[in-house]
């Protein structure tokens, strides 16, 4: 069930902290905690689109959708459920 969260966290740790010791909670705000900078946000969005085969529209690029592991994972699940029900169930079984 938490595989999306794990995958997002690994991506962030590898790509923005480069394996540094820093840790953060799934509910921590990326912006407020300085976890991801402006370009990092673009990298993360591009990773999510590629990984899950979804298209994120400009008006969806808002902190409400993206600003923590929890929010982003929930957003991904909503997108998957909306765009392709069969993908969503496949994803649910995998998780």
């Amino acid at each position: 069930m938490r595989s999306v969260e794990r995958e997002l966290k690994k991506f962030i740790k590898d790509n923005f902290f480069f394996g540094d010791h820093s840790d953060f909670a799934d509910s921590d705000s990326f912006l407020e905690q300085g976890i991801i900078d402006s370009t990092g946000m673009l990298e993360l969005v591009s990773f999510v689109q590629q990984q899950h085969g979804i298209k994120i529209e400009d008006d969806e690029l808002i902190p409400d959708n993206l600003d923590s592991i929890d929010r982003l994972a929930a957003f991904i699940r909503r997108k998957l459920a909306m765009s392709a029900p069969e993908q969503s169930s496949q994803f649910a079984t995998k998780a």
């Binding site: 480069f18 540094d20 820093s22 912006l31 673009l42």
Partner: protein, 651 residues
């Protein structure tokens, strides 16, 4: 333009002539035309000459008539003809027509105050036999370099740090405090250098060294007077500022054409170098050669504007194409010359450009540096203005979109939505009052690169506060200055000498025996520019408004009206997009990183993977890879092995 070096022994023993020869040989590239050494008991001065003024008579080191003084001098005194005339009227007799001899007599006349009369770019040392003291000086803005150190028995100085490393007694070790500063500000805070125990003489400073003591003092400082906008009509005042600025720039360019060899010009395609080229063409309507670097990558290339400026001004134009591979190939040589870690590859194309100048038989070029600092061209000024504007209305949804106008050339910014831009440029309450308000986003971003440091380095620098280091150097009253002037000061006094004029200026030009001359950094222009009201430097968000206004009639409209594009070069791509480079693989290997002990090999490995997979798109990753690689090169060139003086055998 030249290379200088010297020794003063503290005890009563002869200075080592052979050592000075080695020191000067280490900077032979700065002066391939002639070499000389002067020895007098405890002192020895060396000189490598690039002959530009008085080709036959200007040999150095040069003594005065009674041999009480001897000078070794790197640079140009552009008002030397006027100074010479005054000295002649006071009864001084000249044996040469060089500017070097003018300094000698000026020192005889005024002592250490001589530098206040000089308009130019210099680093020199005079041995004053009567006082048994060395007198050293560096120009106001720091165009020419000079470094020094002391061993148990001697004081040593030289144009580059490699001169000092020619002495086996000089310790070679990276200064971790310096590394901390570079990975915060992009530069060391003068007099600190990359190496522990090696100092530079800061810009606008002089020093005296005797066997007993060493004294360093500032002879020039930059201030912003404020108190603008009084008396007369606004439009009239604007006209006056514009006319006076133009008159000064014309004269600054005119005296920078004084030379016994031909003077060319760089054309970047931007406003500043186009203005300088236009003024040079007006002053000498004959043949003028211009030089440019072009890129395949449209994100960096400005060749359209360069060619247009050349056509419009009627110059004989030469250009050289710079590829990713070229930057990767020359980068180790660039660091050999820069002698410091750097976070951008921007010096590399300029290194390639100075080779083009040299290959065309030119020794001197005019360039446009200094205008962005003093006349308000940098984006960081606009960004600070916008951030204050946003902070005043934090809830506005529209204002954040202005940030996109700020960086039209940065795709990563263009791809952001308003909601995110607003968050990223948000002003924290405590930041509003910081003297570094303008530079905080840059420095905070750069500081994040420190996560790549090894645990040992992290623990060493943990208690340090680079911001406090810098704050202690701000002039009295700085907090009351206009924010725009504060930002200008930070750029002009710190970034300009410690990065732009050194790694990106003197070092990469002198690497190919090319002297740069910078009309915008004539001290009269700089002091006048500090008096111009900020609203005329940046009118709303129109940068360098007053410069555009006074030069519009004689430069191409397309150049005057184009959006500002700062000079940039491909960074990480230079090392990973083309042919694999052996030195990159070796220096970034876990083994090599562990040996140098400065970076965390596992973190660097992940960063390298990100580049190899083409996922590293951000400024931070790019600065990190260039910073780590250049630091490893500094270790390789200077700490792990001796300086290659044998290749520069003294003849």
């Amino acid at each position: 333009m030249c290379g200088i070096a010297g020794i003063l022994k503290f005890h009563d023993e002869p200075a080592d002539r052979e050592l000075v020869e080695r020191m000067i040989s280490a900077v032979r590239h700065r002066g391939p035309d002639a070499r000389g050494v002067y020895c007098d008991r405890n002192v020895a001065l060396g000189h490598a000459r690039l002959s530009i003024i008085d080709l036959a008579g200007g040999q150095q080191p040069m003594q005065n008539v009674d041999h009480s003084l001897c000078i070794t001098f790197n640079g140009e005194i552009f008002n030397y003809l006027e100074l010479r005339e005054e000295l002649v009227q006071k009864g001084y007799r000249f044996a040469t027509s060089s500017d070097t001899e003018v300094i000698l007599h000026l020192y005889q006349e005024h002592g250490e105050d001589c530098v206040k009369f000089m308009n130019g770019q210099w680093a020199f040392a005079i041995w004053d036999g009567r006082r048994q003291e060395l007198f050293l000086s560096r120009d106001r803005l720091g165009i020419r370099p000079i470094f020094h150190t002391r061993t148990a028995d001697a004081f040593l100085f030289g144009s580059e740090i490699k001169c000092l490393f020619a002495c086996p007694k000089v310790h070679r070790e990276i200064d971790l405090n310096a590394l901390d500063q570079i990975f915060t500000f992009w530069f060391n805070i003068s007099p600190r250098t990359t190496f522990a125990g090696i100092s530079e003489l800061p810009p606008g400073h002089c020093m005296r060294v005797s066997k007993r003591e060493m004294r360093v003092w500032r002879y020039w400082s930059l201030g912003f007077p404020g108190g603008w906008d009084s008396g007369g009509r606004v439009a009239d005042r604007e006209e006056q500022w514009a006319q006076q600025l133009l008159d000064l720039l014309k004269d600054a360019t005119r005296i920078r054409l004084r030379s016994d060899v031909p003077v060319g010009a760089y054309l970047s395609g931007g406003l500043d170098s186009t203005v300088v080229t236009a003024l040079a063409k007006q002053a000498t309507p004959s043949h003028l050669k211009t030089f440019s670097v072009t890129f395949d990558d449209a994100e960096f290339d400005e060749s359209t504007y360069q060619r247009e400026a050349s056509r419009f001004l009627g110059t004989d134009h030469q250009e050289i194409r710079c590829t990713y591979d070229d930057i990767g190939r020359v980068f180790p040589e660039v660091i050999q010359h820069a002698e410091t870690p750097i976070l951008r590859t921007a010096p590399a194309p300029l290194y390639i450009l100075s080779q083009l100048v040299h290959d065309n038989g030119y020794k001197v070029v005019l360039t446009g540096e200094g205008s962005d600092e003093m006349l308000g061209g940098y984006d960081i000024y606009k960004e600070a203005k916008l951030r204050r504007f946003l902070a005043a209305r934090p809830d506005s949804q529209i204002r954040p979109l202005l940030l996109k106008k700020l960086y039209p050339y940065l795709p990563n910014v263009q791809a952001q939505t308003g909601a995110y831009l607003k968050e990223f440029f948000r002003v924290e309450t405590e930041d509003s009052a910081s003297p570094f308000f303008s530079h905080l986003p840059r420095w905070k971003l750069t500081s994040k690169l420190k996560l790549f440091f090894s645990d040992a380095v992290k623990s060493e620098i943990q208690a340090r506060d680079s911001f406090a280091d810098l704050e202690s150097l701000l002039p009295a009253g700085f907090s009351q200055w206009e924010p725009f002037c504060q930002a200008q000061y930070l750029e002009a006094i710190f970034l300009l000498p410690n990065y732009i004029l050194s790694s990106q200026g003197d070092r990469v030009a002198m690497a190919h025996s090319v002297e740069i001359r910078l009309p915008f950094l004539d001290y009269r222009v700089v002091e006048f520019a500090a008096k111009i009201p900020p609203r005329l430097k940046m009118k709303v968000l129109n940068e360098k408004y007053i410069l555009k206004k006074c030069t519009a009639p004689f430069i191409p409209r397309s150049v005057a009206e184009r959006p500002k594009q700062p000079y940039r070069a491909p960074d990480g791509k230079a090392f990973f997009a083309g042919q694999p480079l052996d030195y990159v693989a070796e220096l970034l290997s876990p083994d090599c990183l562990r040996r140098s002990g400065l970076f965390n090999p596992a973190a660097v490995e992940k960063l390298v993977d990100k580049f190899k997979n083409g996922r590293a798109i951000g400024t931070k990753d790019n600065m990190a890879i260039v910073g780590i690689l250049s630091t490893q090169l500094v270790m390789h060139h200077f700490v792990d092995k001796p300086v290659r003086t044998t290749e520069y055998a003294f003849s």
